[in-house]
Amino acid sequence: MVKVKYGISIMLMLMILLGGTMSPAASLPAVGGALPDLSPGFSLPKPKDGVVIIEIFSMYCPYCQKEAPNVNKLYDKIQASPNLKSKMRLVGIGVGNSSYEVDIFRKKYNVPFPLYADGDFKIHKKLGEPRTPYFIGVKINPNGSHSIFYSKLGEFGDVDAFLAEMVRLSGTK
């Protein structure tokens, strides 16, 4: 009887523990994991051995505005490398931004890489509602599968150091 009683107590406590730590609908992208399905707003480039660096940004985010020239530099460095140019791609997703607003950001900062609009925050929610700017590094494998090798909030600092880190973490040769 005592064993049954304390068994029930343990179960109740565990249920409380689980209930109390129930996570929100989606978590931030995890290194080693995969991106959730972000369609129809966004889909990873077609299966091809390479890396996609995704910037989650907003036209309304002053930190993204300040970081824009730096991200452009990253793009330029990739393009300037004959090796990396064919293996690394950069895209941006404007969370809560309409196409009009994304366009304004593109023109204001002369953004040379593709930008997508997530006007209704659907993609933002699926990604666990990251603050901005948020960078996700995704490695796409020849068989079409992919895995996340980088997932962090905030400006990435020195462009050369960040690019070197992207190359290293993704195993790009």
Binding site: S9, G20, I104
Partner: protein, 203 residues
């Protein structure tokens, strides 16, 4: 003795489990505190009764500016179109922040011969700190703090909890209201709506 041992074991298990639960909650709380942004949750979309309408003369006002001095609506009459951007409060969820976006489209406002006035019911020191982290703003930021929300009340956009609606008013050079958007407080009004409203003033 056996009963006492079982009870002690049970109490120990409960203590461990409760400690774990609290620890995990503490991690979640510390993350929120780290960001220092208060999240009021989802609010009633609109909680006021508009007192003005399109075609009517915009109520004049004079309010203190964060940059110093005072700004009167009437100082722009005959000179500029005016966009009033009321936002609920400083330091509230960044997903609906508008002004840093307006900060990079000064050229669009100027192309439409318009000025932008940002207004909240916060006091000047609060507005100073909040707007400082947006970068240098090109437009005046005005405080409708004292008497609390007096201008917001004149326009009929003071909510029952003392903050303003997320509202846009476009006023022409004659001082006539030509566009009103009292927006769902939980969402950001699109920039396109404001620019279109300004462009329509030319017609």
């Amino acid at each position: 003795m056996k009963k006492r041992a079982s009870l002690k074991f049970l109490i120990s298990c409960c203590a461990v489990i409760m400690t774990l639960t609290l620890a995990m909650s503490a991690w979640a709380i510390s993350d929120a505190y780290k960001d220092n942004i208060y999240n009021p949750g989802k609010l009633k979309p609109i909680d006021s009764k508009l007192k003005v309408k399109v075609g009517q003369k915009a109520p004049d006002f004079t309010l203190p500016a964060v940059a110093g001095g005072k700004v009167a609506l009437s100082q722009y009459l005959g000179k500029k179109n005016i966009v009033l951007s009321f936002v609920p409060a400083a330091w509230t969820p960044v997903c609906s922040d508008q002004w840093p976006g307006y900060n990079i489209v000064r050229d669009m406002f100027e192309a439409n011969d318009a000025v932008l006035l940002g207004i909240t019911v916060d006091n000047i020191p609060t507005l100073f700190s909040w707007t400082n982290q947006m970068g240098k703003l090109w437009f005046p930021v005005l405080s409708d703090f004292y008497l609390h929300g007096k201008v917001a009340q004149q326009y009929g956009i003071l909510r029952t909890d003392g903050v303003t609606e997320r509202a846009i008013f476009v006023i022409d050079k004659k001082g006539i209201i030509r566009y009103i958007d009292v927006h769902d407080i939980n969402e950001r009004p699109s920039l396109e709506g404001i620019i279109t409203a300004l462009e329509n003033l030319k017609q």
